[in-house]
Symmetry: C2
Subunit: 463 residues, 2 copies
């Protein structure tokens, strides 16, 4: 590091923790570079409502550059990271998957030594140098080696996956509506959700409401008694981290909505046609939603970071990578605590950790010691359906209408962007008033992306 | 035809005319089958606002089944048509591109003869029989044989194309922001729109507002004097069908917004890197939007229908195909009048024709003669930008604020679905108040659709 330039902080990932860190570093005496493969920050707690046609994907996505507009010391590059070298303090961008070409930043981001002015010659321009690094790349789905799970299930970890699932469900109904074979129709109308944690419960409830309240009006010729929404939970209860009373309530509410809940139902295999449990039971289905497990990030290991079994990065209490005092991990990727007892992978944890690592970096710059991270838990909430949710807030347990209203309110406030909030609120009110789902669109129809322009298209004005 | 069953009307295409026809046939003594390759009806007059980040694609798409909910005698099949046999009265579905499997409809739709009950054996189930056929497949882009135009331009005839253009424009800016080479940066920041008709004008104006009012805030390091929005019009004036006064106004307003208007600028070639005019001038660009021409539909000719040079189907004054009194064409595909003097390809024409052919079919069933189609022209309008539009309503010509307000009002009312209207209205108000565009999302990033799930992703709650 040289005294002649401002210190550089590279943040990898613009999720809750990455954005939290960037905001905290705003207007401080550092140069910040935020990297993400998408140009938007997505609000993952509402993915299940995109997947079930309640919300439009754009309503819960916010352009990263929009967030950074007022943060003059934060730059953004849409890029995927290929490699991280903690010793050389270098992040290597995967140029094949990124928009940033070589030499895209000011020269001193590449000059990994004394500042070299603007001379870019003899400098590897795919390497970005940093003084501090924040890794906040989030988590991915964990498939526990179940055969076929990677290939044939629908995870719900990205906004794109939510749209894919939505399109797929509507496609299944379109096919079922014209499927003369009863067995194949049954298969198309069976929807299995693997995992009885918060996401699994939320997807199952939303799916059931979509089907039995909205789609039932679209397909008058289909027999909706054939439709099955299965929630396959490996453990003995739904929402294992919640009080027993809330678990029972959740179970009851899901059944009321028409969801078949299977406990101790461990999935042993998934194929294109079915999902099979360890006890031999099998369900013919074209739709297996995978919410059963999360994995820190396979890349972290490839980058040589110390990981635990679940792919998370082991960090000190200050969220630093042991041995590298200038390298922080925040959000889902951080393994803080002891194995099996890590902090939950919740948005509030990620946001607080992002802010904490940023503050720790600012402390280090001032010559102070970084502080241990302390999570202020505000509670956990799960929405099940109309007027149905559970909230576990310390000693307080809420169910039903108050929990449901609280869930909506908390998520509305947490959304980034006033316009997004307004749009989501209107979508919710509309769905509520009309007991319907309105984004019943197969858009874009991924399968037919290469369809010729001359096929059936809606009319448009000519010139 | 036999007296024992209701007559069957097949409508191909759920655009303005197809939906107009289906609605008119509701509750009449016929069975209607509506075919479209998408499960939604898209409102094409607002495609340019999707392409420029003002509206979300879902806001102007409406599920076809939602439109049909109250029409008990109308069925929908999401399918692409492969062949039409007017003599045998059969529509052949392209099974590879359609969700409807063989035998998907009730047996009598396949039994092209006396009703065969529900026996589907010995019947070709990809063939759908009709008593009356309405072809309303719309129009496609016409490239006039310009080399490279098919491969390298962005047409704006489908909702998907609008989203593709939006994503591409934002991608260009992301790349430009980090492009050290001034020439390549200039190329990324040059946006050419080919065609000075209504769509070309609307795209150019919206593009300029997006760039100079909204994106300028996202890219503080870019020099926006480098940005060029080119409108390349082959004719001597913009909006050739409008009065000269409105043409001059449009020209002036576009220039005020920063659009460079080129008249008598006929495109001779498009490559991945540039667009070249017949007079030899060339512009380096990655973005060529093609609004210069429309073609009826190449399929119509393949189906053996009598077409004119522009790919439209020649119809009688009653919109019937000559020689086939039970076959109608409505909307952009219909060539009514004399070559060079066809009715304009406007939504109102399509809607009115859809209704007219439906009424003519009902007349035929009652033993009456079909009536000639009479177009009630209500006027033409083009939006240019904030407080800027032109409206040509008979002898009345409006510009500026009143025309702009009228344009917004008319398009808002014409949208299908109250929720869509509300969402679009709020989007407009929001854009207006904040002088910004809010859907600045590269979503889904088409290029990276196959990206592994373990790459940088926003954090999400775990189970």
């Amino acid at each position: 590091m040289t005294a002649s330039r401002r210190l550089r902080v590279v943040i990898v990932g613009a999720g809750f923790s990455g954005v939290g860190a960037a905001r905290t570093l705003a207007d401080s005496p550092v140069e910040v570079l935020l990297l993400d493969r998408n140009n938007y920050h997505a609000f993952s707690p509402l993915f299940h409502q995109v997947a079930t046609g309640e919300l439009e994907p754009e309503q819960i996505a916010y352009p990263v550059r929009g967030i950074l507009r007022k943060l003059s010391n934060v730059q953004f590059v849409m890029a995927e990271v290929k490699q991280v070298n903690l010793t050389k303090q270098v992040v290597e961008i995967d140029e094949a998957k990124s928009v940033a070409p070589r030499g895209s930043l000011r020269a001193d981001w590449y000059a990994c030594g004394p500042p070299a002015g603007n001379v870019l010659e003899n400098v590897d321009q795919s390497l970005i140098c940093y003084d501090f690094l924040i890794l906040s790349v989030g988590s991915t789905s964990r498939f526990f080696g179940v055969p076929g799970a990677v290939e044939h299930t629908f995870p719900l970890k990205t906004l794109q996956q939510a749209v894919l699932l939505r399109n797929h469900v509507f496609d299944c109904f379109e096919r079922a509506a014209h499927e003369p074979d009863a067995k194949r129709r049954q298969q198309l109308l069976t929807f299995a959700i693997v995992g009885g944690g918060p996401t699994g419960v939320e997807v199952a409830g939303a799916q059931a409401e979509l089907i039995y309240r909205s789609l039932v009006q679209d397909y008058p010729t289909l027999d909706f008694r054939q439709v099955r929404v299965l929630l396959l939970q490996g453990a003995d209860s739904l929402l294992p981290t919640f009080p027993q009373k809330l678990q029972a309530y959740t179970h009851k509410q899901l059944r009321r909505l028409g969801v078949e809940v299977y406990l101790q139902a461990k999935v042993s295999q998934v194929t294109k046609e079915s999902v099979t449990l360890r006890d031999g039971r099998s369900f013919d289905t074209k739709t297996v939603v995978w919410t059963a497990g999360v994995y820190g990030n396979p890349q972290a290991e490839a980058w040589g970071l110390p990981t635990v079994g679940s792919g998370k990065v082991l960090v000190s209490s200050t969220l630093q990578v042991p041995g590298y005092s200038n390298t922080y991990v925040a959000g889902d990727l951080a393994a803080l605590g002891s194995e099996g007892n890590f902090l939950p992978m919740l948005a509030p944890v990620a946001i607080q950790q992002g802010q904490a690592v940023a503050r720790n970096i600012l402390r280090q710059i001032k010559g102070r010691n970084p502080l241990p991270f302390r999570y202020r838990h505000q509670g956990s909430m799960v929405i099940i359906g109309r007027h149905a949710a559970v909230a576990h807030l310390g000693k307080l347990s809420l169910t039903g209408f108050p929990a449901w209203l609280l869930w909506l309110g908390v998520h509305l406030v947490a959304l980034v962007g006033v316009r997004n909030r307004l749009m989501v609120m209107i979508s919710w009110i509309w769905s509520y008033l009309f007991r319907d789902r309105f984004v019943r669109l197969i858009l874009p129809p991924a399968i037919r992306a290469s369809a010729p322009t001359h096929s059936i298209a809606p009319q448009q004005r000519s010139e």
